[in-house]
């Protein structure tokens, strides 16, 4: 499998160099793998910090900036970052008002962020944590690692980031982040596996004419394999899977997310079907975002995330944001 890279070993560092060169509004520490808002620490502001394996861009580095994250820590491809990164980043962004760690629910992320939180607290930084676990394809039970964190991460980071930008204290920013996560559910499908630079080939075999239902974003196969379905059928399946778990009684934010290699033409066609199902299920849509936001390298496929919002959350969603990957209002 061909890739636009130098060697597998340097893909993350190379991408960070490119991010630094392309976005002067970011401070990128390539060696230590920390991406920080150039104006950090923002005085009297609660800071948001996230991170996770690379390969999901623009998540998280593309979400660093005004109104969203203060710092992001990219790990190796599909590998959670190490505590040293988070501790360094926390020190760089803490204004004294504390730092919220936004953590996707994967064992690796959870453990590394937990260690980082302890170390950061040892250094006198107040830390709160929110765990994102929105993927309904995974049964949430004490007998599993719990639901994965996927598309809802964007909603959590944007909305909690807006609250922090408004000057909310750490407890409120944390509470909002938890509320957004609790109000969000996702479901994803893959039409093709992805290719990790280290492996150089597809992470799983998917025969022609079949698709994976309930995939995550790390190249892992899904819960179920089926004969290829139409955009319409996939939308029915995915939205119903989400609505089985989340029964919105107020409007929703909709993220129609591309996994990386699905053309925008297809993604918007899929968005049409998602809106159709939502209409049939009498769910009101407040805002829609369509694009490649929480990706899985070159995987073809898409995911749907719904986030039920009230007026307060919607106002925070609409608030200005200025990052490489998401921008409006400023």
């Amino acid at each position: 499998m061909k890739m636009l890279i130098n060697v597998a070993e340097t893909v993350v560092a190379d991408a960070l160099r490119g991010l630094a060169a392309s976005h002067p509004e970011l401070t990128v520490d390539v060696e230590n793998r920390v991406i920080v808002r150039r104006d950090a620490p923002v005085p009297d502001k609660v800071a948001l910090l996230s991170g996770g394996g690379s390969g999901h861009e623009p998540l998280h580095g593309g979400f660093v900036g005004v109104g969203m994250l203060d710092a992001a820590c990219p790990g190796e491809v599909f590998t959670s970052p190490v505590p040293d990164q988070m501790v360094r980043a926390a020190a760089a962004v803490d204004s004294g008002k504390g730092v919220l760690f936004v953590v996707k629910n994967y064992t690796g992320d959870v453990l590394n962020f937990e260690m980082a939180a302890e170390l950061a607290e040892d250094e006198g930084i107040q830390v709160a944590k929110v765990l994102v676990d929105d993927d309904v394809a995974v049964t949430d039970s004490t007998h599993t690692a719990g639901r994965r964190g996927t598309g809802a991460t964007l909603f959590v980071e944007k909305i909690a980031g807006a609250a922090a930008e408004e000057g909310a204290p750490l407890e409120r920013v944390e509470a909002i982040a938890r509320r957004v996560n609790a109000s969000s559910r996702s479901f994803g499908v893959a039409l093709s596996p992805c290719t990790t630079p280290a492996k150089g080939g597809p992470t799983f075999d998917l025969p022609a004419g079949e698709l994976e239902l309930g995939v995550g974003i790390h190249g892992e196969p899904g819960r179920e394999r089926r004969a290829m379905m139409t955009s319409r059928e996939i939308a029915d399946y995915a939205v119903d899977a989400v609505l089985d778990d989340l029964r919105p009684d107020s409007p929703v934010l909709v993220l129609v997310n591309g996994m990386g290699a699905t053309p925008q033409l297809e993604l918007y066609g899929f968005a049409a079907e998602v809106h159709r199902v939502l209409g049939e299920r009498r769910v009101t849509v407040a805002r829609t975002l369509v694009g490649n936001y929480v990706t899985s390298l070159d995987m073809a496929g898409a995911s749907v995330t719904l986030c039920q919002v009230d007026e307060d959350l919607l106002r925070l969603w609409d608030a200005p944001v200025r990052t490489a990957g998401l921008r409006w209002g400023c």
Binding site: E76, N112, T139, H218
Partner: protein, 211 residues
């Protein structure tokens, strides 16, 4: 090595620990592709590369800042794994070694029994941190039988290696309940757990370090 020899070698010094960690690093390096392949089936295809990166940092650190005691060697190695691996395995293996290192204190030499007890404490810490139970198809399924097999003499190192190997093999029919493989549900059955496999390599390196 005969059992009569092992009696006089019961004291394990810092250099034994250095040899152990170096042997583990070599083994991980050689088997990296296989570990990644196993992780590709039920995980995210990075376990080999993760472990390789981590243990390369361990051998580097052992050379650059040679530890003064067995405990210091394990703590140094554990810290390197935590700082370099990432993923689930980094904090877990890092905790295993740090915890075991702390248990050994700053003694210049330790007995196989002390090592066995220290590793038992390390494995307990892994169980606590990761929340996994035996049979969940994780590294614990190789580590627990290994520490069970460890006894008062170095001959038990070989037995521990074999027990870890058997434990790793026994993960094949298991349904994963922790870590990334748990997302696959029934589809995780029929594959050997990558972390249990790397654990077996690390335990097997104990006996190699005696040579």
């Amino acid at each position: 090595m005969s059992s009569s020899e092992s009696a006089v070698e019961h004291a394990l010094d810092t250099s034994f620990f250095q040899r152990w960690l170096t042997a583990a690093a070599e083994s991980v390096h050689h088997e990296a592709a296989r570990l990644t392949e196993l992780d590709s089936a039920i995980g995210d295809a990075d376990h080999g590369i993760n472990m390789q990166r981590g243990f390369a940092a361990v051998t580097d650190a052992l050379e650059k800042e040679p530890p003064g005691s067995p405990g210091a060697a394990l703590i140094l190695a554990g810290r390197q794994l935590i700082s370099k691996v990432g993923g689930a395995s980094g904090p877990l293996y890092g905790t295993l070694l740090r915890r075991a290192g702390k248990a050994l204190g700053d003694a210049a030499e330790v007995t196989p029994r002390q090592l066995a007890d220290a590793l038992r404490a390390g494995v307990d810490a892994v169980a606590q941190l990761g929340g996994a139970a035996p049979g969940d198809k994780t590294m614990l399924d190789a580590l627990l039988p290994a520490v069970e097999a460890l006894g008062g003499d170095t001959a038990s190192f070989t037995a521990a290696g074999e027990a870890a190997d058997k434990g790793a093999l026994a993960t094949v029919p298991m349904l994963a309940r922790k870590g990334r493989a748990s997302y696959l549900g029934e589809r995780s059955v029929g594959h050997q757990d990558p972390g249990a496999t790397s654990s077996a390599l690390i335990v097997a390196a104990l006996a190699e370090a005696l040579r």
